[in-house]
């Protein structure tokens, strides 16, 4: 069996597991309700007087902060709790295929959730004349952000059979990646730290790179940043799983 066939078999099972349980529907409803709520109230969708999705995208890093770990927390801790990790890893696949398959399925699920915010796109296009290129790059940034949070959740999920612990660890790590680029924090930091240090620290933040996409800039450094976070944390997932078995 080819690498890809194994990965896609695992991904298909994982994705159908979301939809065979109420998890997927509960998540989708809550995500869409909250996304709509933030966009039209705190986001000031109408008050902005501009045809854009900024009202949605500004809130996504915070909304995802809780919702993505909620999707990712079960990835490996559930396998460990049920004991199915022993089944999965004694089937003819390597650990990295399993890690990638499970990650891709959950990522696809999050991208489906993102895609379901399309009524907001229709609304802005109906009300005004937005730059749909900026909207597209905004969505790419949002998908990459979700992927990075998800890969972090995959790593924390591999650490424990307790989903609550996996969830909290993931939220804390993702929050850290937000805060190092969050202006109230960086302002505080720049009072005593030298500018180059502040600059270096903010480079590690998801916000720094995410904001670029929201301005309509498809920056290769931004893509590279998110993909390296994903690659690194998935690699760490593999190390955790291997150490757990040894």
């Amino acid at each position: 069996m080819s690498h890809w066939a194994a990965i896609s078999t695992i991904a298909k099972r994982e994705l159908s597991a979301y939809f065979e349980s109420p998890v997927a529907y509960v998540f989708l409803v809550i995500f869409l309700l909250l996304a709509g709520f933030f966009t039209f109230t705190f986001g000031g969708f109408f008050e902005r007087g501009e045809a854009s999705l900024a009202a949605l995208f500004n809130w996504l890093p915070w909304l995802f902060l809780f919702l993505v770990p909620a999707v990712g927390m079960r990835l490996w801790s559930e396998e460990r709790r049920l004991g199915t990790i022993e089944l999965l890893l004694t089937m003819p696949v390597s650990a990295w295929q399993a890690i990638l398959g499970k990650f891709l399925a959950s990522w696809a699920f999050l991208i489906i959730a993102l895609a379901l915010t399309f009524p907001i796109i229709i609304t802005v296009n109906w009300l005004g004349d937005p730059d749909n290129g900026v909207i597209a790059s905004g969505y790419i940034g949002a998908a990459l952000l979700a992927g990075a949070y998800l890969a972090i959740s995959s790593m924390t999920s591999a650490l424990t059979r307790n989903q609550v612990i996996a969830f909290i660890l993931a939220v804390v790590l993702c929050l850290l990646l937000i805060l190092v680029g969050f202006s109230p924090v960086t302002d505080l930091l720049s009072r005593w730290a030298s500018p180059w240090l502040v600059e270096a620290v903010t480079r590690f933040s998801v916000l720094t790179h995410y904001d670029g996409f929201q301005k309509g800039v498809l920056d290769s450094r931004g893509v590279l940043y998110f993909l390296s976070v994903i690659a690194f944390t998935l690699f760490a997932t593999g190390v955790v799983i291997r150490n757990h078995r040894a």
Binding site: A5, R13, A17, E20, T90, R245
Partner: protein
């Protein structure tokens, strides 16, 4: 078909498996006996490649487990202890997944699933969520998963655990029948099972092999001629050890 040489496993200071060696040929059913915590499951996990050995080697069908893990896993059907499965899935989708992971597609997959469903008597629960099944059905669902690709080697960790006497008997019959064309290792606490289904038995205690022979040979070594008595005479209960 299965060759285990000087296999050892340590968890920190604790030596769970301590230099055991044995072989299982095609057509043999090896019963794996021993008190709880003797190292039975650990040994099986090393043979299936789930955990790496600390020392020694395992080869299956002439292939080293560490050097060719995927090739070895392809040839093994494994029923882990407590028969885990994805409880949110239906029996049929779980078996489809297991068959898919074994590279079976289309007609081949349908036939394979039909065969194991019949073998494990799952016809009436195919559409049910595994969560809602009784322990016996869950167990047989996991067993079906291990058989779906008709493997040359079967590793079954307590395959009759949690089954009622009828189901136990049926699984033992199944094991004996499959043993004619495969190499099988199964672990159990029930000594009669060894007499009923095994061609050979190994007793391990605290990570070491303390006896290896046909059920008849082992029985003959106890003055009473009972396997129970022989088992108790060569293994130590952890309860007794604590008291001493």
């Amino acid at each position: 078909m299965i060759k285990v040489e000087n296999l050892s496993k340590s968890f920190g200071q604790k030596r769970a498996v301590d230099g055991i060696s044995f072989e299982v040929a095609k057509g043999e059913v090896l019963g794996f006996l021993g008190p709880n915590g003797a190292g039975k499951s650990t040994t099986m996990r090393m043979i299936t490649g789930f955990i790496p050995a600390s020392a020694g080697s395992v080869s299956v069908c002439g292939l080293d487990v560490l050097e060719h893990p995927i090739e070895v896993k392809r040839r093994i059907g494994y029923l882990p202890e407590a028969a885990p499965s994805y409880t949110d899935m239906s029996v049929l989708s779980f078996l489809k997944f297991a068959a898919g992971m074994r590279g079976l597609r289309g007609e081949g997959r349908r036939n394979a699933i039909r065969r194991v469903v019949e073998l494990c008597h799952l016809e009436n629960v195919l559409g049910q969520t595994i969560d809602t099944l009784s322990k016996g059905f869950r167990h047989r669902t996991c067993l079906a998963q291990a058989l779906v690709h008709d493997p040359e080697v079967l590793i079954l960790d307590e395959p009759t655990d949690g089954l009622d006497p009828n189901q136990k008997h049926e699984v033992r019959t199944l094991i004996r029948r499959m043993g004619e064309s495969k190499a099988i290792i199964f672990s159990t606490h029930i000594l009669e099972e060894v007499e009923e289904a095994c061609t050979r038995a190994i007793i391990i205690d605290r990570g070491r092999i303390v006896a290896n022979g046909t059920p008849q040979e082992l029985k003959a070594r106890a003055p009473s001629g009972k396997l129970d008595d022989f088992f108790r005479s060569i293994t130590r209960s952890d309860v007794v050890e604590k008291a001493a």
